[in-house]
């Protein structure tokens, strides 16, 4: 919750006084809102109170409107345990709608209100805290991370070379030379920890940098003091500590750089002429040839030839699918046998596989409840460790020489690893999102995986979701041939599955003017000078005379000329999935279709059907139940998808619905995979957290000397264990089965 503020938001989609009422009411109900005034003319809402901006945006969206927001992508260098602090800073900046920081990729995704915040302001505020870089598409997403990695490697190499000199001289008791060679290790190789600690101090916090700086700094300063006074020196421990921390952190950065970003695969394509080019050089309309065993480099339609294609990248299904002339093929799938000539419809950045990679890289991973709790714990972790270190010194100095007591305290500081705590959740989510993508499930918002547990009702769209969408239409009886041509021509402009099926019945290409679509009802337009209307019975009844039998009717100049019965098939496996889901959830079908077929489907699946719904009614139905998962594919499902607790869009559906969904699946059968993934994620997070806590509770007492003199953990080896722990968490997240 933030302090009292006033925000101005641009509401999209209001066109009347009723809208103003609805929006005002929706905003007024949000917790913490004191006053709201909505202006229809300007489209702005002014809101006073102490509220979360994101709740306002959500409320407006649930009411069926939208808010103008701008997406901002920043790359910032921050230790994972500081996620919470970053969120706090962001919540103090006006105009931040939502923030999502992923410490494993260093990417901060922001949604801002352009009316009160801009990029400059946000970057300036954050700069006080951490180095920030605006993500520049031209430079590539990883440039910042890569530079960071390079600078770490330089630090490590320099650290290793100078440290070996330090060891050589110190073990020959040439302490002054050991001191000289330790200076570059501390000043150059260790600079990132000292400057990080300084920055943390300035912000009145403490993190991993503080611990490393404090442990190495204390060991070094105490040695310098003893060098002058004449006593034991630990230049070796101080230098090795920095070097060992760098070893682990460099490996960790490298792994995360390699693993966290999915790189768009590069394919080569063979043009018809035999010339081989990169797949992004292929243009729409080019014919390319694919031989057995090759990956299909573009999206397109088979022009000639036949073969079997492994589409597991798309569906998770490894059984190959037969493809021949006229079938669609997707980039990234493999031709297991045969030979294909493919007419390109999408290539390069617009191809399916590039879009998939983009969706995975943009997926948000950190807005997870458990993570917030862990972040809170991580914030207290470092101060607690500093207290333990002080107590360790205090207790030991009664029993052993002060210098050894100090080494115990330094070892405690060096052994503690707060970053494993900070990384445990986001890495697990990232790994699970990656794995689900291999099984044909694209998770766009990591939080959806967590929300799955709370889902109570599942509402399915029918056409294209429960059914194949491969609609069969049959004219009811003899019809006017010319009339059918006009109707088919009009339907060719609509993307609805039924319209597509009707448009295929036409043989001529006729020009359509003044096309108008009434979603969920029908279409109207002028074809060859005639007014043509096609749609559902009720729609036609209010526009044409003498409505005949049939599910869909076409009129020319207000007289029915043809009517159709619509038949569609239930997708394979859907029956089993629904039977299974019914055991745990309330399952409902919501469809725009008002024909008897809708009832038939409901009967066959044993599910209640709400039929003949407009897009708004579908959304209202979603609102009337608690914690609804909505599964749909069409333009008419977008509103319901956005309104739902969890929105699941079908991959075969419209772009608009995919944008509205939290998760994208290929078929309802993949819902099982989604639930499995959520369960596995929970297990992964728990394992990572147990590991992180377990590590700390094992090594910190050891470093504090509880088993001394049987086991003694020198500070440098404590540091090595600490830095390797982050590596282990990263590797475990990605490599475990």
């Amino acid at each position: 919750m933030s302090s009292e503020k006033e925000e101005k938001l641009k509401i999209v989609g209001m066109h009347c006084a009723t809208c103003v009422n609805t929006v005002s009411k929706a905003i007024g109900k949000v917790e913490g809102v004191k006053a709201v005034s909505v202006n229809l003319a300007t489209g702005f809402a002014e809101i006073k109170g102490s509220y979360r901006l994101n709740s306002i945006v959500e409320a407006v969206k649930r009411a069926g409107y939208d808010v103008e927001t701008k997406d901002l992508k920043l790359v910032l260098k921050a230790n994972p345990e500081n996620s919470r602090r970053i969120m706090e800073i962001l919540s103090d900046i006006p105009g931040i709608v939502s923030a999502d920081f992923n410490p494993s990729t260093s990417v901060l995704n922001l949604k801002i209100n352009p009316a009160t915040a801009d990029q400059k302001l946000v970057v300036e505020k954050l700069r006080d805290y951490s180095p920030v870089e605006v993500d520049d598409k031209k430079k590539g997403e990883t440039s910042f991370v890569k530079r960071e990695l390079n600078s770490m490697i330089y630090s490590l190499v320099a650290g290793a070379i100078f440290t070996s000199f330090v060891l050589y001289f110190q073990y020959r008791y040439m302490n002054f030379l050991a001191f000289i060679f330790s200076v570059p290790v501390i000043v150059y190789s260790g600079r990132r920890y000292f400057s990080g600690a300084y920055r943390a101090l300035k912000n009145r916090t403490a993190d991993m940098d503080t611990l490393v700086a404090l442990s190495a700094g204390t060991a070094w300063a105490y040695s310098v003091f003893n060098l002058i006074r004449g006593g034991e020196v630990f230049f070796d421990a101080a230098s090795l500590l920095i070097t060992f921390v760098l070893v682990g952190k460099t490996i960790d950065s490298y792994l995360r750089y390699r693993i966290s970003y999915v790189h768009a695969p590069k394919y080569t394509a063979r043009l018809e002429s035999g010339k081989i080019v990169d797949s992004d050089q292929v243009s729409v309309g080019d014919i390319i040839t694919v031989k057995s065993g090759e990956v299909i480099p573009v999206d397109g339609v088979v022009e000639d030839g036949s073969g079997e294609v492994n589409e597991s990248i798309l569906t998770g299904e490894t059984l190959p699918v037969k493809k021949s002339k006229g079938d669609a093929v997707i980039s990234g799938t493999t031709l297991t046998n045969g030979y294909l000539k493919v007419y390109t419809t999408r290539a390069g950045e617009r191809s399916y596989v590039s879009q998939l990679v983009k969706a995975i890289n943009d997926a948000s991973t950190t807005s997870i409840g458990l993570k917030r709790a862990v972040d809170r714990a991580a914030a207290y972790f470092t101060p607690v460790i500093m207290i333990i270190a002080a107590v360790t010194f205090f207790v030991w100095h009664f029993f052993v020489p002060a210098s050894l007591a100090l080494l115990f305290a330094i070892a405690v500081l060096a052994a503690a690893c707060p970053c494993a705590l900070g990384l445990a959740t986001p890495l697990a989510v990232l790994a699970e999102i990656r794995e689900l993508s291999k099984r044909g499930v694209i998770v766009r918002h990591g939080s959806a995986l967590e929300k799955l547990k709370e889902v109570k009702t599942i509402i399915f769209d029918k056409t294209g979701t429960i059914t194949t969408g491969d609609v069969k239409v049959e004219p009811v009886k003899a019809y006017d041939e010319n009339g059918l041509e006009l109707v088919a021509a009009l339907e060719s402009l609509s993307s609805h599955p039924v319209a597509r099926a009707i448009s295929k019945l036409g043989k001529k290409r006729l020009e359509v003017k003044d096309f108008n679509e009434f979603p969920g009802e029908g279409v109207m337009g002028t074809v060859e000078g005639h007014t043509v209307i096609v749609g559902k019975r009720e729609f036609i009844a209010s526009n044409c005379e003498d409505v005949p039998e049939g599910d869909i009717i076409g009129c020319v100049d207000f007289k029915p000329v043809v009517s159709f019965r619509v038949r569609d098939e239930i997708r394979e496996g859907v029956k089993e999935v629904i039977a299974d889901l019914k055991k745990r959830y309330q399952v409902i079908i919501a469809t725009g279709d008002s024909s008897d077929f809708a009832d038939q489907v409901g009967k066959e699946l044993g599910v209640r059907v709400y039929k003949g719904l407009t897009p708004e009614k579908k959304a209202e139905l979603v609102k009337s139940f608690e914690n609804v998962m909505f599964v749909g594919d069409g333009v008419n499902d977008a509103l319901a998808l956005r309104t739902a607790f969890v929105g699941v869009a079908m991959n075969t559906g419209s772009e608009i619905s995919k944008q509205a969904g939290d998760v994208i699946i290929f078929a309802p059968t993949a819902l099982k995979v989604l639930w499995e993934g959520a369960k596995k994620l929970e297990k992964r997070i728990k394992e990572n957290l147990i590991w992180a806590f377990g590590y700390n509770s094992f090594f910190i007492p050891l470093a504090a000397g509880v088993l001394y003199p049987a086991i003694y953990l020198a500070p440098q080896f404590a540091a090595l264990a600490m830095s390797m722990n982050s590596v282990t968490v990263t590797l475990w997240s990605f490599l475990r089965p």
Partner: protein, 54 residues
């Protein structure tokens, strides 16, 4: 293009809230007005706007 909402009488642009009735397109300010109209299209067209439905 500006149109008159036949239910509440407001000026509205081409919106998604529209109804095709007897071959003519009517635009509405909201889904509420649209539903009101669909209950009694003839009545609204004959007697004119009756104001915002409550």
């Amino acid at each position: 293009m500006e149109n008159i909402d036949p239910v509440c009488g407001m000026r509205v642009k081409d919106t998604e809230h529209k109804v095709l009735y007897k071959g003519r397109i009517y635009y509405f300010c909201s889904s509420k007005c649209k539903e009101e109209f669909q209950k009694d299209p003839e009545g609204y067209l004959k007697s004119g706007p009756r104001g915002m439905p409550s």
